[in-house]
Symmetry: C2
Subunit: 233 residues, 2 copies
């Protein structure tokens, strides 16, 4: 008899954006795994912490955010530790910021364990919709096409994708801000774009791209853009 692995979306930051299903599963699950930074900081754990069962076994998963280093070994050992608990019949919940299946860190464990163990994914509020809500900017309506686009793509890719869509959410802006700005300028979309940083967290802000003076943003920053400007209002 073996346990079930839950990939639990905990939303973008605001602890009130947890779902009832996530809180129920966290209460019932004897083992919880969560990514931590090198400083031990664990945002997903901070969000979910109040809902964990008192005797829960904790599996921190220390990750590096140095782009030159790999987390493959860390994910390999975490997957084996999780598989060990599952073999002994203990369910395991892996906490994941946002939604596990939309650019979630859970995907690195899913890639290692899918097909080997029973997995259930609990959807979470995505940072896309949280940022749109904070900015008061609808993402898409009626027949709109909407592209979600990592700013890590090269300039030609960004241009090609933004050309064909009605609306876009450009994620992972970070140090790619200058490139994104050039592309949006070339497409005459700068005035239709707004930057959102740290939605639901301390220091959250919403700034029209045309007024943003920074030359970089945080990794979790995103830019919302709609061809028709502020759609629907």
């Amino acid at each position: 008899m073996s346990g079930r692995l839950y990939g639990v979306g905990v939303g973008p930051g605001d602890p009130e954006l947890l779902t009832l299903k996530a809180t129920r599963i966290l209460k019932e699950t004897p083992v919880v795994a969560y990514p931590t930074g090198e400083d031990g900081d664990a945002m997903a754990l901070a969000i979910a912490g109040p809902h964990l069962s008192p005797g829960v076994i904790r599996l921190p998963l220390p990750l590096t955010f140095d782009p030159r280093a790999s987390n493959d070994d860390a994910y390999d050992s975490a997957a084996e530790a999780i598989a060990g608990h599952l073999r002994q019949g203990r369910d395991v919940a892996v906490l994941c910021l946002g939604d596990p299946f939309l650019f979630g860190s859970f995907l690195y464990l899913f890639a290692r364990l899918a097909g080997r163990v029973e997995i259930e994914v609990v959807p979470g509020i995505t940072s896309l919709t949280a940022c749109a809500a904070l900015a008061g900017r609808p993402l898409a309506a009626r027949g709109d096409s909407l592209v979600v686009l990592p700013a890590t793509r090269d300039e030609d890719d960004l241009m090609r994708l933004l050309l064909v869509c009605d609306a876009a959410v450009i994620i992972k802006v970070g140090r790619h801000l200058a490139k994104v700005r050039r592309v949006l300028d070339n497409l005459a979309l700068t005035d239709q774009a707004v930057c959102v940083e740290r939605a639901g967290l301390d220091g959250q802000r919403v700034v029209p791209l045309a007024e943003l003076e920074d030359d970089k943003m945080s990794y979790f920053a995103m830019i919302l853009v709609h061809r028709r400007g502020r759609a629907w209002a």
Copy 2:
């Protein structure tokens, strides 16, 4: 002194996918508005019902789903009824399936009331991530571009958009299934596509597109496709 309008995302159908924030706001809000079909059926109300305050004032918003008819008059009167409550200092929550700012029915009221009243949007779990979770299919990872694409677009549009993206969620499939099938066939993407219907509701199902024998699907059906097939597993 005037009330605040909340656009409350109630998620795609499973009542456990409500957020803690949605349940708190519903408990505290004296007036709740929700769309109903011509038969009086109100799915958003069925999801949120258990969390409404006992004396809540209900504003049903009867909509037609006949594509030849317009709901403009219904939204106009609903907006005025809501504005009336707000002017008298009563907060109003409008229930919306999925997320209010991602193809949500709330947008029709937002278009009429934004700028005139104070509005807060409470993000909801989207049907996109709920369908992906049910199907066990990650939507996008790392540098993937993901397009959300209404099947109502014409065939050339669908082709052009699917050509440039790594992954797609084709929504509102309904009676457009044959057209979507032709486009995916032409792009050799049929084997990488899966259909998801009624995620989290009675009668939910997940079928690979290549095995689907129907010639139409429900309006709420969607097709998930990823250029690399079943990504990450």
